[in-house]
């Protein structure tokens, strides 16, 4: 049985405008999946139903064998955490320290352990020097890092990152992705919503959403061989493959070049 088992999910904010249409999705323990899709396709809505922030109109969500409902939502939120698209939606504390602590407090972590974790994760995201600042005083990318630290510190089974690194500089993003990869190797299940194909290619499996439906899913190797599907879904191939495909159209793509571009697109 999959760790996350979503079956036939339907959701609408307004009865006349269905947003999620019969969405089914399985995620195994320890998997890393990336969700891609055009603006307004329903990615964040799907993420919010998974943590019980929105109630689906029909369908079921089972996480670690527990069916999500009003009664089980708090139990489920001990297993699955989300970093929001806009970190402001996550901040409640007076200081950065309070904010990182908040989630752990809710889970009942002992005080001493909490203090240690705050330092540890603040360091990991490069925000240790800012612990006494107010969240409102941070730059956009700094806010994103604090939001990520707060969720990491809760040490949950699954983390959903909803465009959580969109405002990081290239170095910070790379460092963070390396760290997330390490956590993944240690068993963390990751659902990463992103518009950045390079970031998505860190995942084992890509899930492509279009107009509230799962349009296509599969391994990156599988999907990258379908350039037309990417275009249809409003997405973009990695630059290496854009180049490769353009050369191919002009009959100028040697086997070696094709291989080289393919490998460089995947080796991030």
């Amino acid at each position: 049985m999959s760790y996350i088992d979503i079956q036939n999910l339907n959701f609408a904010y307004h009865p006349k405008r269905p947003i999620l249409k019969n969405v089914s999705l399985l995620v195994d323990k320890g998997q890393w999946i990336a969700i891609l899709g055009h603006n307004g396709s329903g990615k964040s809505t799907l993420a919010k139903t998974m943590v019980g922030l929105l109630d689906p109109d029909s369908g079921t969500i089972v996480i670690d064998g527990i069916t999500l409902s009003g009664e089980t939502v708090y139990e489920i939120r001990k297993k699955i955490g989300i970093v929001f698209q806009n970190p402001d939606n996550q901040f409640v504390g007076v200081t950065v320290r309070d904010d990182i602590a908040f989630g752990m407090e809710n889970l009942g972590f002992p005080q001493a352990e909490m203090l240690k974790k705050i330092d540890f994760y603040a360091e990991k995201v490069g925000m240790k020097a800012y612990l006494d600042k107010e969240p409102a005083e941070l730059s956009g990318g700094q806010k994103q890092r604090v939001a990520i630290a707060g969720i990491l510190a809760m040490q949950m089974d699954v983390i959903i990152f909803d465009e959580a690194t969109s405002m990081l500089d290239p170095t910070a993003r790379k460092e963070l992705m390396d760290y997330i990869r390490q956590l993944h190797n240690e068993g963390l299940t990751i659902i990463m919503i992103t518009h950045d194909i390079e970031e998505a290619l860190w995942a084992d499996r890509l899930v492509i959403v279009k107009n509230g439906e799962i349009f296509r899913q599969g391994s990156r190797e599988e999907l990258l061989k379908e350039p037309d599907m990417f275009i249809e879904a409003g997405l973009e191939l990695p630059v290496e493959l854009q180049i490769s495909n353009a050369l191919k159209k002009r009959n100028l793509l040697s086997l070696e070049m094709e291989e080289h571009l393919w490998e460089s697109s995947l080796k991030k």
Binding site: L138, S139, E163, D169, P170, A172, H195, L252, L261
Partner: protein, 286 residues
């Protein structure tokens, strides 16, 4: 004319805590014509803070920002209508949530023009046009901006500034949150505006591919200091840009790997996919 920074420093109020200087002695000139500028640097380096000086949303702690001939200094001058500067220099915030406030998308986009005395009907027309320019249909006019997806909010906040038709546009991370189609569409839109009207555009971004493909000048901030002011080409020819937390555009990285592997004699400094393809094509056909 345009915008001149003269030895500008800025400290956020610190309320007894240790003083923190977000901008340090920055001097620079932004022409009001024909510039497409990228403002880049590490998260927290001061980009958004600097951008907010460009339309007098914040006032320097020391030094002067001259905006279309009006001096903005630490001391506010009651005779100056700083508000008019915000019509001439339009700023799109990093987080659209800070900009959106009306109850419908239409009212939100109309706010700017109406505020600057454009008649109601004309403002409504401008709003609709601006909304379509950012890739959203008329259906969105009656939506509540707070109930939109992240990327939709971003588009509406950009439409709000386009409708004001300012002389200089400053866009703080305009493509974060946009899907690839939206990103390319908006970058081409900015380019078209820049080329057709000659208006200067400044974008803050972490996307080096966009910097290289679209802009003709780069400002690099690091810890509040302006470390670099020059062309993208010159910047990406340097080998020390990682000290500013920057990266190379993908075209350069890919072409370099091809050059090394296949020993082609090619110029790896190509600004977009098309030029990169042509460069490889030429080498292959030799």
């Amino acid at each position: 004319m345009g915008i001149q920074f003269k030895e500008v420093s800025f400290q956020y109020p610190s309320w007894g805590k240790q003083m923190f200087e977000a901008i340090k002695n920055v001097s620079l000139t932004i022409n009001d014509k024909d510039e497409f500028i990228a403002l880049v640097g590490e998260t927290g380096s001061g980009k958004s803070t600097l951008a907010q000086h460009m339309n007098a949303l914040i006032f320097p702690t020391s030094g002067t920002v001259e905006i279309f001939g009006i001096s903005v200094t630490a001391k506010r001058d009651k005779k100056i209508k700083y508000n008019t500067l915000r019509q001439r220099v339009g700023l799109v915030f990093q987080f659209p949530e800070y900009q959106l406030f009306e109850e419908t998308v239409e009212k939100d986009i109309m706010f700017g023009p109406k505020n600057f005395k454009v008649p109601e009907e004309k403002a409504r027309e401008m709003a609709k046009k601006a909304l379509n320019m950012v890739g959203l249909s008329d259906k969105y006019l009656t939506r509540n901006p707070f109930n939109l997806s992240g990327g939709e909010k971003k588009r509406v906040s950009i439409a709000g500034i386009l409708a004001m038709d300012p002389d200089i546009l400053i866009l703080d991370e305009p493509t974060s949150g946009l899907d690839p189609v939206g990103k390319n569409m908006l970058m081409r839109l900015f380019q078209e505006i820049q080329e057709k009207t000659g208006k200067t555009i400044v974008i803050i971004t972490h996307d080096m591919d966009l910097v290289y493909e679209y802009t003709n000048r780069v400002l690099v901030l690091s810890n509040g200091i302006l470390e670099y002011d020059g062309t993208p080409n010159h910047l990406f020819h340097r080998d020390d840009i990682s000290k500013w937390h920057l990266d190379y555009p993908t075209t350069i990285t890919v072409l370099k790997s091809i050059k090394d592997k296949f020993h082609y004699d090619i110029d790896i400094y190509q600004k977009n996919v098309n030029d990169a393809v042509n460069t490889i094509a030429k080498a292959v056909q030799l």
